[in-house]
């Protein structure tokens, strides 16, 4: 396959599939290289929560933009994508967190995201199995859930239908200088190589400021109606915010099947795929604290995955200043499913020199290149954001 492409996308996860779909649909000659199965990496490991997050203005802009793209596509997506607008309830355990709810509502309103404040009684009515009393919650009705592997597969089918070529199962062993070398020795030559392989991106570009952040999820048997919305503790913000410590947070999701997906955990420094019993235990105890009945539900699977974390909790979308043929679409941490569609748009906008619908500067890898000498840890300390 020694031929020339406009774009070679490295990685067939949801971000790679979204990039390929956008590029191919705009007439770029596109190839995608995936080492395993489409949507089989972090895409399959993630929850599939399409969520607007407000950790920073740039994050709010990107997640909100991307969510609107999901909504616009909802009608076209096949049933197995399981797009459900169940909404998110940010659960406030106490009055202090209720203050945060009110603040959050103002921030969301500023971005044009409608929300609703529930008091404790209203929350109990919406989610009768939550521990009582709770102070209340912020309902974000536009948030949704999807089943990510099928969403990625659908995007990939769309990409192929628009002319993209899928190379699989092939691993890219080297990327740069307009060439992606595959594990079978073949080379794909391209004007741009889009690195969209999540936490595996560092294997190809060791100098990019991305680290693996391990997560655990548990899924139960079917308990229809146990939870109705994606439920996230407001403390999640504190938990996810930390860029150093291991942390867990109450974060559960109703699946269309009636199953309950239980998260979440965040760990740096553990790059093994094995289940960490200490963090699993802490995560499930947290879930039981908020949702006591979950304890007597049957758990049928536990799995782990790796988020691609950046120091400032914003993804790397744009050209990599170290090599003009290399383009990054990675570092989405826990928001890759949500922001996949926006990432695809921004990548294709850049490659076709089209005007982006949101300002793209905040996501440019350039921001780290300038202070490359500060190193990753230095960059982390400067940052105050999260994902």
């Amino acid at each position: 396959m020694n031929q020339s492409w406009d774009v070679v996308v490295v990685g067939g996860g949801i971000v790679g599939a979204a990039c390929a779909r956008e590029c191919a649909s705009r007439g770029l000659k596109t190839a995608v290289v995936e080492s395993g199965v489409v949507g089989g990496g972090a895409t399959a490991a993630g929850m599939g929560h399409i969520v607007v997050m407000d950790d920073s203005p740039a994050q709010l802009a990107l997640t909100h933009y991307s969510q609107s793209l999901w909504v616009a596509l909802a009608e076209q997506m096949p049933d197995d994508v399981e797009f459900e607008r169940c909404g998110t309830l940010w659960v406030a355990a106490d009055d202090e967190e209720m203050d945060e709810v009110r603040h959050k509502q103002v921030v969301y309103a500023g971005a044009g995201v409608a929300t609703e404040i529930l008091d404790g009684d209203a929350l109990a009515e919406e989610e009768p199995h939550l521990r009582r009393p709770m102070a209340g919650a912020l309902l974000v009705p536009s948030d949704a859930v999807v089943y990510p592997p099928c969403a990625a597969a659908w995007m990939m089918r769309e990409a192929v239908r628009a002319g993209a070529t899928l190379c699989l199962p092939r691993r890219v062993v080297r990327a740069g200088q307009g060439c992606a070398r595959l594990d079978d020795g073949s080379e794909l030559h391209a004007a741009r190589i889009v690195i969209a392989c999540g936490a595996d991106s560092m294997r190809l570009l060791p100098e990019i400021p991305v680290r693996k952040r391990k997560g655990h999820l548990v899924i139960t048997d079917r308990y229809p109606g146990l939870v109705r919305h994606q439920l996230v503790e407001l403390g999640y913000l504190k938990s996810a915010h930390s860029v150093t410590a291991d942390s867990v947070a109450f974060n559960v999701q109703p699946r269309r099947t009636g199953q309950v997906l239980i998260g979440s955990s965040r760990q740096f420094g553990d790059e093994g795929t094995a289940v960490d019993h200490a963090i699993l235990s802490a995560m499930l105890e947290r879930a039981k604290l908020y949702l006591p009945e979950i304890g007597s539900c049957s758990a049928i699977r536990v799995w782990t995955g790796f988020r691609a974390a950046t120091p400032d909790k914003l993804p790397l979308i744009g050209p990599w200043p170290g090599d003009e043929t290399v383009f990054l679409a990675t570092g989405h941490e826990g928001l890759g499913i949500t922001t996949s569609l926006a990432t695809g748009r921004l990548v294709a906008d850049h490659l076709t020199e089209a005007k982006a619908e949101i300002p793209a500067e905040a996501y440019l890898p350039q921001r780290f290149y300038k202070r490359a000498n500060a190193g990753f840890e230095g960059a982390a300390q400067e940052s105050n954001a999260h994902a």
Binding site: D221, R222, Y223, T257, S296, S298
Partner: protein, 83 residues
């Protein structure tokens, strides 16, 4: 019901069933003329493996869901529910 054996009385979907104490709940459900679960697409299902690995025999027992009835013996007063 063999004569002279101990008998336990339980209910399957509210209907009384008598069984020996060695009878599994799965057998009692079939004796009662039912099946154990509805599959995710709504098909009636009954036990396949008889040894606790196929999970086709899941029923509600005393208010608890997803109980593997082939691995549980009938007990007096047990309330067994199936779709």
């Amino acid at each position: 019901m063999p004569e002279g054996k101990l008998v336990v009385s339980l209910t399957v979907n509210g209907q009384p069933v008598s069984a020996t104490p060695e009878t599994t709940v799965a057998a009692a459900v079939l004796i009662a003329g039912g099946y154990t679960r509805a599959s995710v697409s709504g098909e009636p299902r009954a036990p396949l493996c008889g040894m606790g690995i196929c999970f086709e025999c899941r029923v509600w027992i005393d208010g608890r869901q997803h109980q593997r009835s082939c691995q549980i013996l009938c007990a007096p007063g047990m309330d067994v529910r199936t779709p």
